[in-house]
């Protein structure tokens, strides 16, 4: 299956002499030299990305890195200087304006940093806006808008105007306006950046809940690394219009492509990004449960032993005193647990805690010493 959204060698250069500048840049001219000569800067230069259905894809970068321009090229608000945007296998470049408008109504909705609510419309009318534009009959669209507002927890504020709502509530209306359309793609342009940290956290959790309910493809623009790490299944790191690296948060952290990426992640709390599977160690002693109990105990010889069956499925831990702690009784970690989440069980367990995959297979163990060591990771 092709990716839902794919961006192919996308360029955007603003300004009068953009065509000349573009061809210079494409033929390999240094961007800084061009900027010094002509004052022209490429907002987006040579970006190729593919975004899969159902993932939260975060485009992360400082202001001026071209991430908002990139987002606007996905729904055609800005047309690329060169390259192609392909949505569900159809290139946006060849579409007429009417086709693009139809696509925006049916496929993608946008949430804005500034909320961009219509001040003369109530929360309900704002939420119904997209459906109104699409020509859905009034009763139906108000029903859907009400449902969307209830989903974001604004069921009691239907008839209030934006200026009567707090910032967080306004952005919930903005989110409901997008959700009412039930679009497969959600474009979020620094949607939570204008909110207080506490509200921002709440909204992020709400977004993750919504995503768990019905999975959409979310392209999320952010300049906040913590936000990117918390939300993103994958993160594309942008700087001066270029994508530095595009990978999952823990990959970005553990295997940065270059110094700039490492620099970005300097202040990130690695323990809350890295998962236990990245630091799992092989246990000292693994025993197969094909023999009898007696032989197990003798084989363990006074050490902790991790017992698996013939298919390598985890059964339990055999303590030196002969006590058997099964997977149901003792602490067990899933591979996706972050190191921070694992601290509690690893520290309180008297033996290295086993990491067991969704298929019940033993992946490895993690000891307190290993855990502490991982936190020193640079």
């Amino acid at each position: 299956m092709p990716p839902l959204i794919s961006l192919k060698q996308l360029w955007k250069v603003f300004g009068d002499q953009s065509e000349q500048a573009l061809s210079d840049l494409q033929s390999g001219k240094d961007a800084d030299a061009l900027h010094a000569e002509t004052g022209i800067k490429a907002a987006v230069s040579d970006v190729s990305l593919s975004i899969e259905a159902g993932e939260i894809f975060v485009v992360m970068g400082l202001s001026g890195s071209g991430k908002s321009t990139l987002l606007r090229m996905i729904n055609g608000l800005i047309s690329p200087s060169a390259g192609e945007v392909v949505i569900e296998g159809k290139p946006l470049t060849g579409m007429s304006l009417a086709e693009i408008q139809r696509l925006r109504r049916s496929k993608m909705a946008m949430v804005f940093q500034s909320f961009a609510l219509f001040p003369q419309r109530t929360a309900l009318e704002n939420a119904a806006f997209g459906l109104e534009v699409a020509g859905v009959p009034q009763r139906q669209r108000l029903d859907k808008a009400r449902q969307a507002l209830e989903r974001v927890g604004l069921g009691l504020e239907l008839h209030n105007y934006p200026h009567q709502l707090s910032g967080g509530m306004q952005q919930r209306v903005g989110l409901a306006r997008a959700l009412a359309l039930d679009p497969p793609i959600l474009l979020m342009d620094e949607a939570f950046s204008a909110l207080d940290p506490l509200i921002r956290r709440e909204m992020q959790e709400q977004l993750l809940e919504l995503q768990a309910e019905s999975s959409r493809t979310i392209v999320f623009i952010s300049h906040d690394l913590d936000e990117a790490v918390r939300l993103g299944d994958r993160i594309a790191l942008m700087k001066s219009g270029k994508v530095l690296q595009c990978d999952s948060p823990s990959e970005l952290l553990s295997k940065p492509a270059n110094e700039q990426v490492r620099h970005f992640f300097r202040d990130v709390d690695a323990a809350s990004v890295l998962t236990v599977k990245t630091i799992a160690e092989t246990p000292d002693c693994v025993l197969r449960n094909s023999d009898g109990r007696q032989s197990l105990e003798s084989a363990a010889a006074g050490k902790e032993a991790f017992v698996v069956d013939d298919q390598n499925l985890f059964i339990g831990v055999l303590r030196p005193n002969g006590e058997m702690i099964t997977a149901q009784q003792g602490p067990v970690l899933t591979p996706e647990t972050t190191i921070r989440e694992a601290i509690n069980s690893v520290v309180s367990a008297p033996y290295p805690v086993p990491i067991v995959g969704a298929d019940q297979r033993l992946i490895g163990v993690i000891s307190p010493r290993r855990l502490l060591g991982s936190m020193l990771l640079e």
Binding site: N75, Q101, A109, T122, V133, H163, L187
Partner: protein, 304 residues
């Protein structure tokens, strides 16, 4: 209409610029007669209808109605004030002239809005069109009001029609300007939001731009109506009738009392019109729903 001969007199005292203008006017007169006749009958019909409708309710019905409107839109105090004012007009025997002035104002500003608002909207999205419109508007506003009377008389003789047309030209610039401004001032992010949700250009205009520009457009409507009122008084010189006529008679006969009475009636009408139309510009209108407004109106009576 026997006016074709008229322009020949005027060329005599004008320089080359005025002469060119006069020639143009003359050419129009000779070749555009059917158009002028059509305009004349349209405008005549409109002003006639406005005056007829406004004359139907007797003063004792009209005055309380205006007061009620004032109480709803402005305040209770202003309702009392307008009731007193209208009674004063009635007492001075100037009710009928006031009604015909009002009819002329309404007809002229209605036409000005019908023409002006679309021009304002159109120019907001077209730089080149605005580059032409803007100096024309400047010209229309700075040209002394009396100057409009001359071609108006030439094309349409004297009476209500040239008065309305001179008034319409004089009063149109503010609504064009403020409509233009209102639409240009709609925040960029709202426009972007409209586009992002798949608005066509006309949906963008009707659902995003106009509702947001409405308070500013309404300020333009207010200005246009006020300018129309001031011009209607001047237009009495070409037979516009109404209160302007009373003032004009006061001037001609050096009758200070008559002039004052006519002037006072104009002021009363102006204040009422101004406050009522100004109430349209407030955000209250756009933000209060109908039930909220009815409740506010009910509170007015129960509270006081």
């Amino acid at each position: 209409m026997n006016l074709v001969m008229l322009p020949l007199f005027t060329i005599v005292n004008a320089g080359p610029v005025g002469g060119a203008m006069a020639t143009t006017v003359e050419w129009l007169l000779n070749h555009g007669q059917p158009v002028f006749l059509l305009i004349e009958s349209l405008v005549n019909g409109l002003t006639g209808a406005a005056e007829f409708i406004l004359s139907v309710p007797p003063p004792w019905l009209m005055a309380p109605f205006v007061a009620l409107l004032a109480a709803w839109r402005v305040s209770f105090g202003f309702a009392v004030l307008s009731l007193l004012g209208l009674n004063l007009v009635l007492f001075m025997g100037l009710w009928q002239p006031m009604i015909s002035t009002l009819a002329l104002v309404i007809a002229a500003s209605l036409l000005a809005l019908i023409i002006g608002i679309p021009i304002g909207i159109f120019s907001a999205s077209r730089k080149h069109f605005w580059a032409i419109t803007r100096p024309v508007l400047d010209l229309m506003q700075t040209m002394p009001a009396f100057v409009y009377l001359i071609p108006a008389v030439m094309f349409f003789s004297t009476g209500r029609v040239p008065s309305t047309i001179a008034t319409l030209i004089f009063s149109m610039p503010p609504v064009v300007r403020l409509t233009h401004l209102g639409i240009r001032q709609v925040p960029k992010d709202l426009i972007e939001a409209g586009r992002a949700f798949g608005c066509t250009e006309s949906q963008l205009l009707w659902k995003v731009q106009l509702p947001n520009a409405l308070p500013t457009v309404m300020a333009g409507v207010n200005q246009t109506i006020m300018l129309a009122l001031s011009m209607v008084v001047i237009a009495s010189m070409i037979g516009g009738g109404g209160l302007g006529d009373v003032v004009l008679r006061g001037i001609q006969q050096l009758d200070v009392g008559l002039g004052f009475e006519g002037g006072l009636a104009v002021v009363i009408l102006a204040v009422i019109l101004d406050r009522l139309t100004q109430s349209l510009t407030s955000n209250e209108l756009t933000r209060k729903s109908m039930p909220q407004r009815i409740r506010a109106f009910r509170d007015l009576w129960t509270a006081s």
